[in-house]
Symmetry: C2
Subunit: 202 residues, 2 copies
Amino acid sequence: VKRLEGQIAFILEIDQLKRVLRQTLVTDQSRRENSAEHSWHLAMMAPLLAEYAAEPADVDRVVRMLLVHDLVEIDAGDTFAYDATANIDRTKRERAAADRLFGPVTGAQGGLLPPEQGAELRALWEEFERGESCDARYANALDRLQPLLHNWKTDGGTWRIHGVRREQVLRRMEPIRLNMPRLWPMVLAIVEEAQGKGWIEE
Amino acid sequence: VKRLEGQIAFILEIDQLKRVLRQTLVTDQSRRENSAEHSWHLAMMAPLLAEYAAEPADVDRVVRMLLVHDLVEIDAGDTFAYDATANIDRTKRERAAADRLFGPVTGAQGGLLPPEQGAELRALWEEFERGESCDARYANALDRLQPLLHNWKTDGGTWRIHGVRREQVLRRMEPIRLNMPRLWPMVLAIVEEAQGKGWIEE
């Protein structure tokens, strides 16, 4: 019963990810996207675009990785990709959140879940953050692609709102060039169009 | 390129699931939950509660099934479980939506995705709807459990708002009794508490 209680407590706890707002707009521009629905969107994309991954990815692992990749934002908040200051202590804030939600790396104590389940989610999150495995590289590329598509479909979206520059966008999209190279021409075409329409600055 | 265009069009199309509001409230009671974040929540739950499934489920398949299970609501809307009238033509509306989003059952034409990808998503959705396989039975039980937990944590939530009766709730939770029997005592305890607090009617 203790075990089930912890699992149910965790399931109710993560409902809070639905309150974490990202900068990205939903495509009808009515509001900002939250991190829970963003995670769902990425998890849907992973099987559909797997054929474009530069290296063969374990799609089911990637789906699970994407489902948990933003959970630490429940405590740490969403950090806007183009906000250099906020990104300085992002790692520290997110690590503390991971300790509380998943339990510490040692698996000894803390966390709401049974230790082995907490450790599994933590490992997936750490792998995503490090971005060094095939699966993590593909997951990271998808995490860059989805906001690009949203900014494209929302007349420049957060690029326009925050005055983001072309070189910043291209640097941010680098994981797509490296890990989904066949999508790179599309990315460049979108950036070109965005610049032509004045949505991003030179 | 045609293939990629269809995949990207589908990915942008399904963003609309974030606009489909369910009756369920998020746990801070600030607003109704949308079907995209609900799907994310269920996909998170599937691996965590797999040990309670009455029959062994293929968890990765269940995750994918839960990610797509509500997509037809983009056209058909969310149908409130306790609204008998709206549920009469639900199947017809959802089938038309599936034809448009995934392509028709034959796989011949229609749909935005490459036919084999559309057919795969459609098959997962049909399997969930039929509820006859081990995986679908487990997925259906989770789809009942999550709103129960939310109603519990939101002072009766939609039960209270819509004056739902105890026997309606218990009938609705039947998939949990059948497919996650070890959770049934918890379900009964929650229903008991809800009735004690006047959240559901006798």
